[in-house]
Amino acid sequence: MTRKQRRLTLIGVAGCILAIALGLVLYAMNDTIVFFNSPADVQAKNVQPGTRFRLGGLVKEGSVQRGDNQQVAFEIMDGQGSIRVNYTGMLPDLFREGQGVIAEGALEHSGVFRADSVLAKHDENYMPREVADTLRRQGLWQGDSKASQQTQ
């Protein structure tokens, strides 16, 4: 084989692998990514039942109800509304009423959000960034001032 042929082989193989990877990425982008919505976004965008997304906001005070077999129901709220969430399983340690939280799952036809995972953070001062942005937009954010007081 000449040098040129070798180079063409290399470029061919590299092109194939890249094309496969690109195909996989584009296909997966359509199928596997999920959007983040606050309760207000859910109303505004009219999200259809069955569409997977991440619902983020604050856990409404007094809304957490625990049932048998680790079933739990609570409401996620922002400045404009709240959505009821059903979840079965272990809640993160930092899940608390009044705290920021993100739940992933889909709406049911009844309008209840069925979550299959619930995320909170490793740090008790920390608010999930998307939730913080939403609250900031709605003028409910107090986190920065609290944090800066603590460090002084």
Binding site: M1, R3, R6, T9, L10, V13, A14, I17, L18, I20, A21, L24, V25, Y27, A28, M29, D31, T32, I33, V34, F35, F36, N37, R54, R66, D68, N69, Q70, T88, G89, M90, L91, D93, L94, I102, E104, L119, K121, H122, D123, E124, N125, Y126, P128, R129, E130, A147, Q150, T151
Partner: protein
Amino acid sequence: MLVEAGHFALALALGLSLIQFLVPLWGARTNDPVLMSVGPSTALAVLACLAFAFLALTVAYVTSDFSVLNVVENSHSAKPLIYKISGVWGNHEGSMLLWVLILALFGAVVALAKSSVPVRLQANTLAVQAAITIAFLLFILMTSNPFVRVVPAPVEGQDLNPLLQDLGLAIHPPLLYIGYVGFSISFAFACAALIDGRIDAVWARIVRPWTLGAWAFLTLGIAMGSYWAYYELGWGGWWFWDPVENASLMPWLAGTALLHSTVVMEKRDALKVWTILLAILTFSLSLLGTFLVRSGVLTSVHSFAVDPERGSFILGILTIFIGGSLALFAWRAPLLKQGGIFAPVSREGALVLNNLFIATACATVFIGTLYPLALEVLTGDKISVGAPFFNFTFLPLVIPLLMLLPFGQTLAWKRGNFLGTAQRLYAVFGVVIVATLVMLAFTAGGPVGAPLGIGLGAFLVLGSLNEIVTRSWSRGSPLSVTWRKARNLPRSAWGTALAHAGVGVTVIGIAATAWDLEGMDTLKIGDRISAGPYTVRLERVVPRQEANFREDVVTLRVFRNGNEIGMVDTMKRLYVTRGMPTTEAGIVTIGLSQIYASVGEVRPDGSIGLTLYYKPLVLLIWLGAVVMAAGGALSLTDRRLRIAAPAPARSIPVASVPAE
């Protein structure tokens, strides 16, 4: 006083780094040996200053000096001593100090390697190294100074985040940082070679041990972090495809590719430009990882509170170094001469294929990690790219690579014979196929992925073993000869086989997760819950008070098929100072498998929520990483011998070096 001295030492280190940056660079340009020799001495002085600063901070932590803000925010007088020490790097400021300390440590080792590194290369390398040190020292001094005092000093500190009060996380950051920062040496050598416009096999021989060492530490660091997340977060997961995890996986992948391409460069003087580019990219990804973790621009389950100002500073550093080095690459790389040629079917060809696969896989992780960020900037839409994306894109690229690995490892240099290679592997291949079919038959109805994955892992392990056997055993030769031959194989050959076998072990562990079982229920005293053949019975729930936390200890009795095999405790803790709850999983290790119990909530009526997992062969995931790192270390012992005797080794023609 010591704290002010530490602060001063940081500033002094900055000044010395400036000298270490400018003078050797100028010396290398003007070919002035005196100016070039300034590099090594300043590098040692920088190390001394930073070691002193680090020590000063450590002393402040150990003596609980609450006049230092950093200590107040991250320590508590009732904390055990070990976590007072690990608290030094368990926070942003301290961890950045550890980062530059390791950077300086590596710089000093380059400075001491006088005999093996050409003087000009060393001078340029130390200058590049100093540039990185300057950037990070500026970052520490301007945005994250650990030595800031607080007046009046509080009586008690706010304690370290409880999740970090753990032995695993005490050693995870140093391991990870040695890996990240170790790649800065490959980066500095690559930039030095570009500045000089010259590069050859000697360069690869010098750089390879550094890459190998950094890679081994990064492997251990990632495995440690993964095991920590597994037992500390209480969800039983070991890898979440979370941005922070991806941030460490990307440099690991690029570093793995770099490791393999430097082999080609060292043996065959080929792939020079690509190797240089990889060295730059690997460290760039390390910097990117630091940025992602430290700036908090991405939503991660591992996020801690962050400060946006720091994010923009690190972004600046990122832009300067990645942009600068890539510009240098674009400008100088055409000067580098093309090296040796090889047939597509050859060891070199296999290593090129390895690089293609790994680089592409790394690119998919990169896209998945940063796409949400790009989309949010461009359209304002917030999305999350999770495990399904990565499983769908990453696995199809990695599985073929792993299937080809044993073949590539067996191919000859320069021109190989695929059929001959396949013949050397046919016994292994046959055994693996039969074993996989038997496993499939026995587990019919269960997940298909597990037997297939275990078959793949076994192929990797046996293929590596086969490589050692075929190189030391021939038909009819007595065992003693075989043994001697095997022992006389270069250590790097053993290291390669061991590392590849480690990959196989990890693959087996990952595949077996398809057999995981779990049970979940709310239990009262005496109630049982099962996962597979294992059952636990709730014995008692007892509150307990410790120095800096209080906890409910849930004691479980464990049964296998009805026979008792022991007791295990799982705890729900509340760290008093921060009011932060954590879960301590109860883990029973049975051989390589584990039973994992995690308590959800403890109710006022005494009943508890409990999740029980049965995880067969789960330990292999991390054990494999340890084997990989051990392979790297073994290979490194071989390198050092060669590095120590550079003159005769270089005069030997490349072809006579035994193939690995």
